[in-house]
Each structure stands twice: as C-alpha cells, then as structure tokens.
C-alpha cells in the first residue's frame, strides 16, 4: 500500500489570458480556472501507480477557497482524498514559501511514500516547487518524468533530458515531477464525481500548521518582480490563411482522415 500525494495548482486557462495593452500585465479576468495541465498528468501517474501496486491518493493544493473545484475534479478522475491548504497568510507566495508550505503540509499529514507534481505551472513556468518540496522534506527526487514503476521499495523512472531519455532508480520517499502529455489522463466519471462531492475536501489553515509567518506568503517570498516587458507581435505572415480559407483547410483535414 503506497501512500501517494499529488501537489496540484489551479491556473487560469492559458487560452483566455491576454496582455493588458496599458498596464502590460496579464489580464486573467476573462479566464476560466483549470487544473494546471501537467498536474493532470501527475494525477494520472498516481492513479496508474495505485492501480498496479495499491495505495491511497491524496491531492493537495494551496489556493483560495474556490480551488476546491480543482481537487474535486481530480477526485472525480480517481484520487481518494482532497486537501485544500487555504489561509490569507499564504497569499502572495512565490515558489520558495509555496514549496515550504506544501512540504509542511505533507509532513503534517504524516509524510508520503511518493509525491507527484506537474513539471511546472502554465502561469509561471518555474519548475521550482516540486524540487523545493523534495529538498524541504529531504526526499529523493526525479524531475521531467514520463514513466514510473515501483520495484523493491524503489521507483524506476524514465526522464526526459535534452535529446535523450534517462532511466534512473531512486529510493523512497520521493518526489517525482511529471511532464505534460506523459500519459493520457482518464476522464472523470459521474459516479466518482458524486462520491467526491459527497466526501468533500479537507481544509487546512495555518492555525493547524503553525508555520512561522516570516516564512510564508508574501512575507516569505524572496522574489521581487522588477519589471515586466511585452514582446512585440511577430510580423504578420501574409501567407497565413484567412477565414475564407477555412473550407480548404476542412477539406484537407477530411482528405487526410483527421476529421470525418
């Protein structure tokens, strides 16, 4: 029985994000919230591991109260429990206090045999948090993994490295970060989602965790954003198909058997 955690984040759907032409900041107001895409792959990796070797999966996120929908979504796919770490004192955290807080939660929940994370988030793309959690907890770690097996108390993982693939063996407990599209995530089912909504998610605040306020949230964040610049639009390609080309594109897609 493996004790498995998946650390996830709710992010604005990248399709809906625009850059405010005046303030040059990201405009997320129109964006729907979704589970950070590689985190869905991380959850699938956890579910596959559980189905082969047995175990219990807890999905954990730090975020505002509305982030519970992300946990319930993943419980609908097959995770057993959801934990929402939510408290105003955690707000404004960069990757350092985020990793610290999530590691503390993992510890508070009794530790895990393996913690899965997505390789990075689509809204900040640092890839810091997974390795950070491993360091704070003193777990072994493997990053950019697309395949995980469990043998003799060890994890055998295949990781993507520049131009090649590496297979390594790491001990337990471990943090494993999963690449986007590492697997094909199963869909949530109605029955599992009903069970998830019935069960609900567990809320954890700093009242329970008792973390030093200097190490969490905005106060605990060493990153300072000095400036933000927008990259000018690439030169419009005149050969780019206009809307009148749609019919042509559709017929090519049909020809190639991409759509029926």
């Amino acid at each position: 029985m493996l004790k498995i955690a998946v650390m996830i984040k709710q992010v604005p759907d990248s399709q809906d994000i625009s850059i405010d032409p005046v303030t040059k900041t990201l405009n997320r107001s129109m964006a729907r919230n979704v589970v950070n895409p590689p985190d869905v792959n991380a959850t699938e990796a956890a579910i596959e591991l559980k189905s082969k070797y047995g175990g219990e999966i807890t999905v954990i996120t730090m975020g505002p109260p509305m982030a519970d929908s992300a946990l319930l979504e993943l419980m609908g796919r097959g995770a057993d429990n959801g934990v929402l770490v939510t408290d105003r004192v955690f707000a404004g955290a960069d990757t350092w206090p985020t990793a610290f807080t999530l590691a503390s939660v993992a510890d508070y929940l009794g530790g895990f045999d393996v913690i899965f994370c997505g390789e990075e988030t689509t809204d900040s793309s640092t890839g810091h948090v997974g390795p950070g959690i491993a360091e704070f907890l003193g777990y072994e770690q493997a990053t950019y993994v697309h395949k995980t097996e469990y043998q003799d108390e060890h994890f055998i993982v295949e990781r993507d490295i520049e131009g090649a693939e590496e297979t390594i063996k790491i001990g337990k407990p471990a943090v494993i970060t999963i690449t986007l599209n590492a697997n094909e995530p199963r869909n949530p089912t109605l029955k599992k989602k009903i069970a998830a909504y019935k069960k609900g998610v567990r809320l954890v605040t700093n009242k329970e965790l008792q973390l030093d306020p200097a190490c969490i949230g905005l106060k605990g964040s060493p990153t300072i954003v000095k400036d933000m610049k927008t990259v000018p639009d690439p030169v419009k390609n005149p050969s780019k198909p206009g809307i009148e080309e749609l019919d042509k594109i559709v017929s090519v897609l049909i020809e190639k058997g991409v759509v029926k």
Binding site: M30, N187, P188, L190, I194, Y197
Partner: protein, 429 residues
C-alpha cells in the same frame, strides 16, 4: 430505492430552476452539467425578464450577477442606408426593474450555485451519455458504464436535446424548428457606454432590429448594453439560410456591425468573445410530448421560445417550465407516483401558465416571421414613405395614401398583397 428522487440534466435556467424548486421542497436532487463551472458554456442574446425567477429566488435582483436593467427598449428596421427606430424609454421600467441584461457565463454558474445551496448535488464537467431505461420507463442516467438511478429525470439539455432524441422522446431537430444566433461581446468602457447611450451606471438599453438590408434573408438582430461591454448579434432561420445556400453566418453579423447606424455605436470597442447557438423558433409545432414514465422535458429542450421578429424570449419560459416541472416532481413524490399519469400534471400546469398560452396564441406567428416581405420589402417601403414625408427637395407633397401606392409599385408589390400581408400581420401578431 433509487439513488435520487430526481436527476436534472443540464444546468441552464430551466434545469437549475427545477433543481432549486425540488431541493427547496426536500427532494434529493442530482444536477449534472457538461461544463465546469456548471452552465458556463451556455449562451443567449442576453435579456432576462425575472418575474418567474423571483418565485424561487426573491432576492435575485440584489444577488445575481446582472449587467444593467432595461430602461430603454428599441425596436427598429434597417435598410442599406437608413434605420427606422421606435425608442421606448419609460420610468415604468425603471420603477419595476424586472428586465436585465445578463452574461450567461456569469449568471448560470451563480444559479447553479443557488441550486447547490438549496441542497442539490451539483456535478459540473460531466456529459451524461444516455438515459437508462427499464420496461419502457426512464429510470436514470448512464455515464462511463455506471447507472445512476432516480424516480424522475428532468431533461434540461437545451436546444439540441441529444438524450431525448436518442431515447426517442422527440425526433431529430428539423431546420424549420430553429434559428441560428451568432453573437459577439464587444468590450467598451462603462463611461463610453453611459455617455453614448445616455444611461446611468445601472440602466441599460436593449434593441432589436429587422435587417432589411439583406437580399432574400429573414434576419433579425439584437444590440444590448452590459456593464462594460455590448452584446450584439443576428438571428437567422436555419431553413432560410439553407434555402439560400448560406453557410457563413459571420458575414451577416459583419454586415450588421458595419451598418451606418450600428458602426458608430461600437466604435473603439474590441471583440472579447464570440459564439453561436441555435434558438427554438418552431412554436407549438415543435413542442414534443413533454412528459412520460419517469421523465419531463423543460426549457429550450421542449422548444419553449417565442419570437415575432422583434421580440425574442426564452429564458423566462425556461425558468417557469423548470419551476412547474419541479413542482410536479414534488407532487409526484408526495404520492410516490412517477408514472406518465402523475406527471401529466406538468403539462396541465404549463397549459394554465403563459408558456403554452403564448405558444398557442401565436401559433401562426411563423407565417409572419417567415414572410419575406417583412424583411425585404416593408423596411424599404417605410424608408420611402419617410423620405417622401420628411425630405424637402422641391417636389410637390403627396398624401400618405398616394405615397404608399407609389412605394408599393416601385417595390413591385401589388396593393392587394400589401393589404392582405398587413391584415395577417395584424391578426397574427
């Protein structure tokens, strides 16, 4: 023992209203919607009349995400170069405030949240695969090989009710039953909206037009103000589009936006969203059998919509039909009888309400809205009359009767045809 008293498929206005009604009365309710948050994929022109909503949510005006209350209502005709508009601006609307512009992607998740607060289990992001049947009765829904059972299933699937069609509860959608609505949301600052349309920070404008500037097409258009955006779009009968070989409705919405009376109103705005949706316009003839053993059909799925070319309504019918189906389920639960005979009460309640009364009163309205002259000839005729009457260009004046006669001749309309058209429009509207 079934899993739930009622399963509602679809968290739009009809589905959520049904779920709230039943949950308020102690029934166990499962409300399932394909999108997450629930209802977020729904789309409508955007004017909501809330009398019926007030029955289940009396505080809707202060709680719901509303845009602007309708203070100014316009109906008009467009020709190539002109617009003829009746502008109805009234204190009565301001004093009553029941019509509001809404953005469904905000409003529907709020309504589904209200269903959850009432006690319904609301599950977003799941598309129900099929209805579960046993001995000819609907006994629940199926998804991923699991069957979730209930005493009654309320189908609030919207205009293209796949489950109802596949279960043989209604036939596949026909061209004549629907129109295609194409809509854009155009961002514009509240300041600009309020200055441009002479509005306060809470009041709004709703306009509907007949587009007389298109050849052979019976197209209506709408233009509504939101807090910081404009909702505008066109509505074209599917049959009419097909007859004319039109596949690209975005050309039509572009023509509306470029019309000399519309273009300045959206100047400086940027398109933030666009979408398209079908609208029920088949009237009484498209309404299927509304209930049977273990099921009821509500809202757009039941074809509850009204259009006479200038007025377009459906959300109010959705609320009321959802409430009435909910009440019927509550009654059925009390008697522990969910057979077709017991659920016939739903039809009876609809007959007594304005939903079926409207559809019956206006059963011939399609003959008006399908009358090509309404779109292609009469707007031009109006334009000619007004030009004759209002444009001083050194010509001797004519009596209205003579103006009408010469306009009809210019537009190749016989006096008899014009007279009978007006007679029937008068009778049917």
């Amino acid at each position: 023992m079934p899993d739930y008293d009622a399963i509602v498929v679809g968290a739009g206005n009809a589905g959520s209203a049904a779920a709230i009604t039943m949950a308020n009365n102690g029934l166990s309710v499962l409300l399932v919607d394909r999108s997450d948050p629930p209802g977020a994929k729904n789309l409508s022109g955007g004017v909501l009349w809330g009398n019926d909503l007030a029955q289940i949510l009396p505080k809707w005006q202060s709680e719901a995400p509303l845009e602007r209350f309708i203070q100014d209502k316009k109906i008009g005709f467009l020709t190539d170069k002109s617009s003829i508009i009746i502008d109805f601006k009234t204190k009565i609307f301001e004093e009553n405030k029941v019509g509001y512009t809404v953005l469904r992607s905000k409003f529907d998740p709020w309504l589904a949240k209200k269903a959850r607060e009432a006690g319904a289990t609301v599950i977003p992001g799941i598309t129900v695969e099929s209805l579960a049947k046993k001995d000819g009765k609907i006994i629940g829904v199926e998804e991923s090989g699991d069957v979730i059972t209930s005493n009654v299933v309320i189908l609030a699937e919207g205009i293209n009710p796949r489950l109802a069609i596949e279960a043989g509860l209604r036939g596949p959608l026909q061209d004549w039953e629907v129109s295609v609505g194409v809509k854009e949301i155009i961002k514009l600052s509240p300041q600009k909206i309020e200055d441009r349309f002479n509005l306060s920070s809470t009041s709004g404008l709703a306009s509907e037009y007949i587009m007389g500037n298109l050849q052979e097409l019976n197209v209506g258009a709408f233009f509504y103000t939101n807090k910081d955006s404009i909702s505008l779009g066109i509505v074209a009968p599917m049959e009419n589009l097909r007859e004319n070989g039109i596949t690209h409705t975005y050309d039509i919405i572009e023509q509306f936006k470029e019309h000399p009376s519309i273009a300045p109103l959206i100047d400086g705005g940027t398109v933030a969203e666009y979408g398209a949706h079908m609208i029920p316009e088949g009237g009484m003839e498209m309404v299927p059998k509304l209930y049977g053993d273990g099921y009821m059909i509500v809202g757009d799925a039941a074809g509850f919509g009204f259009s006479n070319g200038l007025v377009l309504q459906g959300m109010n019918y959705a609320f009321l039909s959802g409430i009435l189906a909910g009440e019927t389920a509550v009654n059925a639960k009390g008697r522990n009888d969910f057979t077709s005979e017991a659920l016939a009460l739903y039809r009876q309640k609809l007959e007594e309400s304005y939903v079926l009364k409207d559809l019956k009163t206006f059963k011939d309205i399609r003959k008006v809205t399908n009358n090509k002259s309404m779109y292609t000839t009469y707007p031009k005729m109006l334009e000619s009359i007004l030009l004759e009457m209002l444009w001083e260009r050194g010509q001797p004046k004519k009596k209205v009767r003579d103006i009408l006669g010469s306009c009809a001749a210019d537009l190749k309309m016989s006096k008899l045809k014009t007279a009978t058209d007006f007679y029937y429009i008068y009778r049917r509207m």
